[in-house]
């Protein structure tokens, strides 16, 4: 699960919990507030009735009056008095069943906390008990009930009111509450989202910076990071350094191994060359095979340069001039006229060693196969420089050209000649974001034309 997902989930869960809690708490307070109003009306009726009960247990009908609403039949407002000396109900009647359990034993005198005016034995606030019953017409009723002690025994006084008088204001109060809570929830959610976006943005930036490193456009992740990421970035940069150092060490080892093998190989070849040791030349062929493999893997190890190629800037004209000096002397006895035509300020975004390797192989091929002329020209097209190397040798057949550059069939088993050099050139070109294509020179009588495109460094 994503970091953003986790944080969103936690934030959503805690916001929802908080909102639910707030909803229930406020709802409960509201309900109690509204209920208090109902209780007060019922308690007032109970207290009026309590005054109608005489100490001998009889009921004074003149004082057992209905407070407003209580006289309306079917309204749910009602009361009743039950005692050993008689029963009485409100004018509109009263529900039969009482929810409160029968109270046994003597009733304690009213305490100090009793509300309302004192007159004879009457209930205190604490003695009035709440209850809920189903009324005769099926509506839910709220009850308040108390017990008054008389000479003949306890008299129970109960008052009832319809629950719905509570429900309506409660609903009226709860609706805006829920709406505001919902708006609050949405607001909090949005805030969380924005917070996550802004808060996690450095991570997005870090990923982009890492991608830059991987693409070779920068060497390290920038160190100016938020405090929480600075440690990670430090470790990442250390890892990048370590990786690069490891790769460099590995390349050095491959290179040392390859170079180290070549001297004994040269000695072996020399020994085999002595008369009688290798009459059919098969051993020399094996030495050549070993050499070809060593050279191939050495070339590949050299090509496996870590990121950072694209940051390089190498002058093409200088590289060609240096190589021309080498090739003129390597092929000193061949009458090859080398004609470079390269803008002197053309820079390539290519590692200098890679460029030497590519141009060296291609120009060496051209020198070896040329009759008398080799040319190299360069043009810049958009972000790429196209370098054309032509020679006036026999060239390659279409089939041979196709074979020389088939990806995956990189002439691994090939020995000297066009094949080996070309496969390395192609690998290096691709590593540097370029291409190699083979074709026929447009000049009459000329042979192979190799086009090397490489990224131009403006």
């Amino acid at each position: 699960m994503s970091l953003r997902g986790r944080l969103l989930l936690i934030a959503a869960a805690s916001t929802l919990t908080a909102l639910l809690f707030a909803g229930f708490a406020i709802g409960h307070v509201l309900e109690r507030f509204v209920m208090r109003g109902l209780d007060d009306r019922l308690d007032a009726q109970v207290q009026v009735l309590a005054r109608a009960v005489r100490p001998d247990g009889s009921i004074d009908p003149a004082r057992a009056i209905d407070l407003p609403d209580f006289g309306v039949p079917g309204s749910g407002w009602a009361w009743r008095i039950d005692g050993p000396a008689g029963h009485r109900t409100s004018a509109a009647g009263a529900p039969e069943a009482m929810t409160s359990p029968a109270i046994e034993g003597p009733i304690e005198p009213p305490g100090d906390t009793m509300r309302g005016p004192r007159h004879g034995p009457r209930p205190g606030g604490d003695d009035i008990r709440p209850g809920e019953i189903d009324g005769p017409s099926g509506q839910r009723l709220h009850a308040r009930e108390t017990v008054v002690a008389t000479a003949v025994g306890p008299v129970t006084i109960a008052a009832f009111g319809p629950r719905r008088v509570v429900a309506a204001p409660l609903r009226e109060a709860l609706l805006p509450l829920l709406v505001s809570l919902a708006i609050l929830g949405i607001g909090l959610g949005l805030a969380t989202f924005v917070q996550l976006r802004i808060g996690l943005h450095p991570l997005v930036r870090l990923r982009a910076a890492l991608a830059e490193v991987r693409a070779g456009r920068s060497s390290h992740v920038p160190a100016d990071q938020p405090e929480e990421l600075a440690g990670i970035v430090g470790e990442l940069n250390a890892l990048i350094d370590q990786n690069e150092a490891g790769l460099a060490a590995a390349r050095r080892h491959v290179s040392n191994l390859a170079h180290g093998m070549k001297t004994p190989l040269a000695a072996l070849a020399l020994k085999l060359g002595e008369t009688g040791r290798d009459p059919d030349g098969s051993l020399a062929a094996m030495v050549a095979e070993v050499d070809a493999r060593v050279r191939h893997h050495l070339g590949r190890a050299r090509a496996a340069t870590p990121a950072g190629r694209s940051r390089a800037r190498t002058g093409l004209a200088q590289a060609v001039a240096d190589l021309a000096g080498v090739l003129d002397r390597l092929h000193a006895d061949r009458p090859v006229a080398f004609a470079p035509s390269i803008p002197h300020d053309l820079m390539l975004a290519v590692d200098a060693q890679d460029l030497d390797e590519m141009l060296g192989n291609l120009l060496d091929n051209a020198y070896r196969h040329a009759r008398s002329g080799v040319s190299i020209t360069a043009t810049v097209e958009a972000a790429m420089a196209a370098i054309r190397i032509e020679d006036d040798g026999p060239g390659l057949s279409a089939a041979a050209m196709g074979e020389a550059l088939v990806p995956g069939q990189r002439l691994d088993e090939a020995g000297d000649g066009y094949g080996f050099g070309l496969s390395i050139v192609q690998e290096l070109a691709e590593l540097n974001g370029g291409t190699v294509t083979l074709g026929r020179s447009a000049r009459p009588g000329w042979g192979l034309e190799v086009t090397l495109t490489l990224p131009h460094a403006p």
């Binding site: 390859a258 040269a266 020399l270 060359g273 190589l323 080498v326 000193a332 390797e357 060296g360």
Partner: protein
């Protein structure tokens, strides 16, 4: 022709030296950069073979020192380092040719001969002097179109005279380029060789310049 071979691998050095001696080269072998650098700086050589990865001193710095001290004998770098950047470095340090290991010994011999010939100012492989012809690439002599049979010492002396024909070659110079460094040189032996050569190619072709040395001449 006297060759300085700087190579630290004993087996390879011994093999190259033997093959070169069979081709009439006089060979001095140095097994490290320090000794090789010293020999190249103090002795006369027609050509040097220089390995790059050497103990004590790197081949490139040895070469730079030679060039810095105006030691201009042709140098063939013979190394396992086959990168083009390394080749550029080698030539920039003053090399004249570059060959990577492993190699065919025939290739080494051909390149050494070509280097010596070009250093003497001959663009073409065939050098002639009167009736005498020298194929500097194959290392063969002909007189009037017939092959000339020569001993190793005779070959060394005659090739020196031939490559610098019509020029007086100092006697000491000739001795240096004919004998290997550790050889016991009898002061008269060069006269003996010259005498034998005169019998083979005609006495009039080798002139003795009293007090200085010898000159091969077509008698112009």
């Amino acid at each position: 022709m006297r060759v300085l071979l700087v190579e630290d691998d004993a087996v390879l050095a011994e093999g190259i030296a033997r093959a070169l001696r069979a081709e009439n080269f006089a060979v001095d072998v140095a097994a490290n950069g320090e000794d090789g650098g010293h020999l190249g700086a103090t002795e006369l050589y027609d050509v040097a073979i220089l390995d790059l990865g050497l103990p004590k001193r790197d081949g490139l710095s040895v070469l730079r020192d030679w060039r810095g001290a105006a030691r201009d004998m042709p140098v063939l770098i013979l190394t396992a380092r086959d990168g083009w950047s390394e080749k550029v470095e080698g030539f920039k340090a003053g090399a004249d040719d570059y060959l990577t290991k492993p190699f065919r010994i025939e290739e080494v011999v051909m390149r050494l001969r070509a280097l010596v010939r070009r250093a003497a100012g001959h663009a073409s492989a065939r050098v002639t002097c009167g009736p005498l012809a020298f194929d500097a690439q194959l290392g063969t002599f002909e007189r009037d179109g017939l092959p000339l049979k020569l001993t190793a010492f005779e070959w060394r002396v005659l090739s020196q005279l031939m490559l610098r024909r019509e020029v007086v070659i100092e006697r000491a110079d000739l001795i240096e380029r004919v004998y290997e460094g550790d050889a016991d040189v009898d002061s008269n032996s060069i006269e003996v060789i010259i005498g034998r050569l005169r019998r083979k190619i005609g006495a009039e072709m080798i002139e003795t310049v009293r007090g200085r040395g010898y000159r091969l001449t077509a008698g112009a």
